[in-house]
Amino acid sequence: MSDIRFTNAHKKFGDVEVIHNLNLHVEDGEFIVLVGPSGCAKSTTLRMIAGLERMTGGDLHNGGKRANSMTAAERNISMVFQSYALFPNMSVRQNLSFGLKLRKTRATVVDHEVARVAGMLGLDSLLDRKPGQLSGGQAQRVALGRAMIRRPDAFLFDEPLSNLDAELRVQMRGEISEMQANLSTTTVYVTHDQVEAMTMGDRIAVMNKGEILQIGAPADLYERPANTFVAGFIGSPRMNLMPARDLLADAEPTDGPAHGAAVTVGVRPEHILVNSEAEGTRIGDAHVLRIENLGHEAHLHVRTLRGIKLNVRTDGEVHHRIAQGARVSLTVRPGMLHTFHSSTGECLA
């Protein structure tokens, strides 16, 4: 049993409280992603689990044991850092075996474990190299190996892919997900990249200003955002959010709420139909300001006749049908209009 539970956790740096009353339960074997913008305290949360930061209030339980005053080493947790944090004076072999040797593991066992992990991660030919002689991807694999070799109760990842190029990031994303699925080790993964969050986690916790705003499966967060922050943060391109009156004044809503200044509506770019006769909530006509063609899809930047700018995601062939400056009609797919309270930002539906 290696679940992680925060109960009413608080963290202050001096007089500034960065985490307010955090409650989070990571189930045994679960892969949870903490996602949010810079400064939302997601890394601080991770560091509190690791024992690198002390909580100023509340409780933390690891595997049912109260861990508030346990040292980092006592928690039997492994962490992978954004900067890899490999020991620069040690070879890959020494980096991998560092933790085992500190625990006075027998030399034959250490050698066996190093060989096992190196084999799993394709590091066999790199064992005698120093970190300075490794590429970013190789260094990240060594960091993963160092985390895996001790068979810890939980893995913590602090934006581990941020320093990698786009292609390698996609590859490593898959490798980390596969590794976690094979080992079934409780994992907490911090990122500000919502694509990583959506593709990797069993559940996602969206954080902002030291609070968890919503926690749930990736599809839940995408389909049923609890507030405007989550609605805007999850999904790429981001959800169009605006006062209902601005978007729908000329329209005849066939679904969704009544118009009103107190309501904010949100619609995802992929849920807006262009020049379609299909059923849905009519937004009205708009002018195409710009077309970004990505090949497999295109993003239309349009401005409605009431001056509201919207982002529309459509198929990559759209430029054959629609030119920049063209007038198009827009419709929201049935059931895809999200409504939020204007002042609190909370979901109304």
């Binding site: 690791a50 980092a72 080493a73 944090a85 490999l86 020991f87 004076n89 970190p131 160092r146």
Partner: protein
């Protein structure tokens, strides 16, 4: 246009060479003069106007070879420098680590104090310490000198080592802590090996300073622990100066540090320009 540019470039290069050459001559002239005097006979050494061409003699060096007091002071300097450098590193390494990586209260005050202590003239400490040293038995001992030198070399060492330690990504010691390493282990297994050029530079700078120090040695030793700088001045008698022996002793006193600096030059430059440690 291109030719004019090349001429201007050669002209500036010529000036730079002349200027650099003049600076080198200016700074090396005293050393040359001491060396030349040490190789002259007593009469040649005192000639007025000075002799530029002379028959060199090794007599002064042969005299020093059998001069027991000078040999003794030389050995004292080796002992005091060695122990002073080791002591400074032993104290400065953990202190610098604590300042850089541990949440020690008043870290900024320590930083200010280090700079102040380094800037204070060393003789300032000698007079008040004189009676304390006599009372504790540290007067005229190697240990007493090595301890007193820490007043000067320790702030410099802590300051230098702190700057080297700051170059290490803090995530590296966090990673080590999670793996189960203690602070002492992190220091010994990661920080010291990663900053070896910096350690060498610090040790060399400390050694040079201790070896060349005169004021503290003059105030806190009498005979047993006298260092080589005092040994050199010992050739100045009540009524006469043995210029030949004194200059010869100076050259011998310079040689260890000169060799040290030449051998370790690479480390000093690398240490003092110690860059980011690739994590």
């Amino acid at each position: 246009m291109r030719r004019g540019g090349r001429l201007r470039e050669q002209f500036s290069l010529g000036w730079a060479c002349i200027f650099t050459g003049a600076m080198v001559l200016f700074s090396l002239f005293p050393v040359y003069w001491v060396l030349a005097t040490s190789l002259k006979t007593r009469r040649d050494g005192l000639a007025n106007p000075p002799l530029w061409i002379f028959d060199p003699t090794a007599a002064n060096y042969l005299k020093l070879w059998t001069h027991e007091t000078f040999k003794y002071t030389f050995l004292n300097s080796v002992i005091v420098t060695g122990s002073g450098v080791l002591l400074s590193l032993a104290l400065a390494i953990p202190t610098a680590y604590a300042i850089v990586r541990m949440k020690v209260r008043g870290r900024s005050l320590v930083g200010i104090w280090l700079i102040l202590a380094y800037m204070l003239p060393e003789f300032l400490f000698v007079l008040p310490m004189f009676s304390l040293y006599q009372w504790t038995g540290l007067y005229d001992t190697h240990v007493g000198l090595a301890l007193m030198y820490q007043v000067h070399v320790l702030p410099l060492s802590i300051w230098l080592l702190s700057s080297f330690f700051r170059e290490i990504n803090p995530a590296i010691d966090e990673a080590a802590r999670i793996e189960g390493a203690s602070h002492l282990h992190i220091l010994a297994r990661i920080y010291i090996p990663c900053t070896l050029p910096g350690m060498a530079a610090t040790a060399i700078l400390n050694a040079i300073w201790i070896w060349n120090e005169l004021a503290i040695a003059l105030g806190l030793t009498f005979s047993k622990a006298q260092t080589v700088t005092l040994g050199v001045t010992g050739f100045r008698g009540y009524a006469a100066l043995d210029w030949g022996a004194m200059t010869g002793a100076s050259i011998i006193a310079i040689i260890p540090m000169l060799l040290f600096a030449l051998v370790a030059q690479k480390h000093i430059v690398r240490g003092l320009t110690f860059g980011a440690v690739k994590g």
